[in-house]
């Protein structure tokens, strides 16, 4: 069906533009940034100028007003070249801007969104050392003190939260108990530089090495109640809704990575000769490429369709879990075959296959592991309603 089937002319132009940007601006820097485990302020600035950082925000906030398919294409095309830059953009839009835009009041939106559309970053702090898949086990607490709230606790693995251009993060905290003993959760907007709040860069990552990942510590951190996102007690719902959309951008990263690994593997396989013939002509190799191509075709069509449904306002909890699960497992297969097809070279840093192989693994873990996606799907189809 091809890359652009069913897309509008603008969406096609947008893809071509982002692809060119990724090839010309990002590709030449990827290896060095990965090697040095360095976040690139220069590339981020250029991505902001291109309009990637306020992708789906309306113009009134300085955004690019993209429909969801277009936004997903941006992430996909970035991930085709570099998972780290795709991560900066996807996390910022889906997890950083998303909750502020969907649940923020008009003062909060006016205060933060224009800056977040034009070069500043915002994080989303859900995961804690003891609360990943089991987000309900969140320990971070907020206690009311007059008009303020005092936050204590810590967060881990938070994307974009500790760069020099980070404005702040949305922090999920327990604010009390509901009737029946269930925890009550509330989201707080915590700005970097707030007293009692520290955001520290985490190092030593296997993948996404030029994306910023942070550990957050809140020690008697005082924030005014104006910084509550939505209403007290809305936190968990907001987080779940944010993840429904966010999963589509992780899916886009899987699709883009699979495409990148596939393009790379196909080209190499047609050039590399053993026993007098290109290795792509040996059926066992050809069939690997056929499998990846099949997966990409199916993934792309399904993902874009779900994005269109999201644009129409439909609920997509199960579908976005399917997108995320399918695309991340596709990326796994594509990267694995890519390394295999390159043989020894596939294991060397000099070749992109090696980086694809490392970068894909996050996709099966971040924003809900593959096991959790299967849980979401199996719940939606009623497996446990017996």
């Amino acid at each position: 069906m091809g890359l652009n089937s069913g897309l509008t002319e603008e969406q096609i132009t947008l893809r071509e533009t982002v692809r060119r940007f990724a090839e010309e601006v990002i590709r030449p820097k990827v290896k060095e940034l990965d090697e040095k485990e360095e976040f690139s302020y220069d590339i981020t600035r250029q991505m902001a100028e291109m309009g990637f950082l306020g992708a789906f925000l309306p113009e009134e906030y300085g955004g690019s007003s993209l429909d969801y398919v277009s936004y997903i294409i941006v992430v996909e095309e970035l991930a085709r070249i570099d998972g780290s830059q795709a991560a900066t953009v996807a996390a910022h839009n889906s997890l950083g801007i998303g909750p502020l835009y969907y649940f923020g009041n008009s003062e909060q939106k006016k205060k933060y969104l224009p800056e977040l559309a034009s070069g500043k970053l915002w994080g989303f702090g859900l995961t804690e050392p003891e609360a990943g898949s089991d987000a309900g086990n969140t320990k971070t607490k907020a206690v009311r003190d007059g008009n303020d709230w005092i936050l204590n606790g810590s967060k881990i693995f938070i994307t974009n939260a500790s760069t020099d251009i980070t404005l702040g993060s949305t922090i999920l905290a327990v604010t009390g108990e509901k009737e029946g003993g269930k925890k009550e959760f509330t989201c707080f907007l915590v700005e970097n530089g707030t007293k009692g709040y520290t955001a520290k860069k985490m190092t030593g990552k296997m993948m996404w090495r030029s994306s910023n990942t942070s550990e957050l510590v809140l020690e008697d951190c005082r924030v005014p109640s104006e910084n509550i996102l939505g209403k007290v007690g809305d936190g968990f719902k907001q987080m779940l809704a944010t993840l429904d959309n966010g999963r589509l951008s992780i899916a886009a990263m899987g699709l883009g990575l699979a495409q990148g690994a596939f393009d790379y593997a196909l080209k190499y396989s047609k050039e590399r000769k053993t026993f007098g013939h290109p290795i792509s002509t040996y059926q066992i190799n050809a069939f690997k490429l056929a499998d990846v191509d099949m997966g990409i075709e199916l993934a792309r069509n399904y993902l874009y369709e779900i994005c269109r449904r999201l644009d129409r306002g439909e609920k997509i909890t199960k579908e976005s879990a399917i997108c995320k699960l399918y695309c991340s497992e596709l990326a796994h297969m594509a990267a694995n075959h890519c390394v295999q097809l390159l043989g020894g070279y596939g294991l060397m840093k000099e070749y992109d296959a090696e980086r694809y192989y490392r970068d894909q693994k996050l996709l099966e873990i971040g924003e809900g592991t593959s096991e959790i996606q299967r849980l979401v799907i199996s719940r939606a189809i009623g497996c446990y309603d017996v």
Partner: protein
């Protein structure tokens, strides 16, 4: 400043070209078309001149309806207006130049910018035709342009050095790689380009001055001469590098 930029629709540089059934044109099936890469320098230079001096940049393309796609790319880059002189026929450089000249006569641009060549037919003719038809000075293959008042200073790369020329507005400048770094269209501008109008004009019909009578894909046959390291062979290698390949 009233700036006119001419752009052409050409097959993507990575496309594999096949000759069509008629033997005189390419098979456009499955071919991706882009803005001629040299024209991107012209667009960028136009935008920079406008940013410095104010005014408007108009992009013009002679071509089929589908060339609106390339005009929209120009609009997304920041061009103010777009004109399509619409034709579905095969046309030569003269036809293109004649039609651009007709529009220029109404528009009276201060400067006409275009790429040094279109990478499809590589005829290099439009800038010179235009200069002749409009009786304007023209400088081709320009890699640096400075305009102060009416004075135009254009640099050209020549074998082993630079040639610096001076002329006056209005004039025609054809762009060489290196003239500038063309900008990427920004996402919001891509989304908005669709709603900007493209003015369509009927072409002035003129007989082509040249026509294509045949197209062939270059044969990929190699000579396949194998030479080793014997003295005779080495002599032969030196001789062929000198006389056939003309490298030494």
């Amino acid at each position: 400043m009233n700036i006119l930029v001419c752009i052409s629709r050409v097959p993507d540089t990575t496309t594999r070209i096949l000759v069509g059934g008629d033997g005189v044109s390419i098979d456009t099936q499955g071919v991706k078309f882009i803005v001629n890469p040299y024209d991107e320098y012209a667009i960028e230079e136009g935008l920079r001149l406008r940013e410095k001096n104010g005014g408007t940049v108009t992009a013009i393309c002679v071509g089929p309806d589908a060339a609106k796609e390339q005009l929209r790319t120009a609009l997304a880059m920041g061009v103010d207006k777009a004109v399509l002189v619409k034709t579905d026929k095969y046309f030569d450089s003269y036809f293109a130049a004649k039609n651009i000249a007709e529009v220029s006569k109404e528009m009276k641009p201060d400067i006409i910018l275009l790429g040094r060549q279109s990478i499809d037919f590589d005829s290099f003719q439009v800038p010179s035709y235009l200069a002749e038809l409009l009786e304007l000075p023209s400088v081709s293959v320009v890699s640096k342009l400075t305009i102060e008042g009416n004075k135009v200073i254009a640099e050209r790369d020549v074998e082993g050095g630079k040639e610096i020329l001076e002329t006056e507005l209005p004039c025609i400048i054809s762009a060489q790689k290196g003239l500038n770094e063309p900008r990427y269209p920004k996402l919001p501008d891509i989304m908005k380009a669709k709603s900007k109008p493209i003015e369509e004009k009927q072409p002035v019909e003129v007989e082509p001055k040249v026509s294509v009578i045949g197209m062939e894909i270059p044969s990929r046959k190699r000579i396949g001469k194998i030479l080793a390291d014997t003295d005779a062979d080495i002599e032969e290698i030196v001789k062929s590098l000198h006389e056939e390949a003309k490298i030494i």
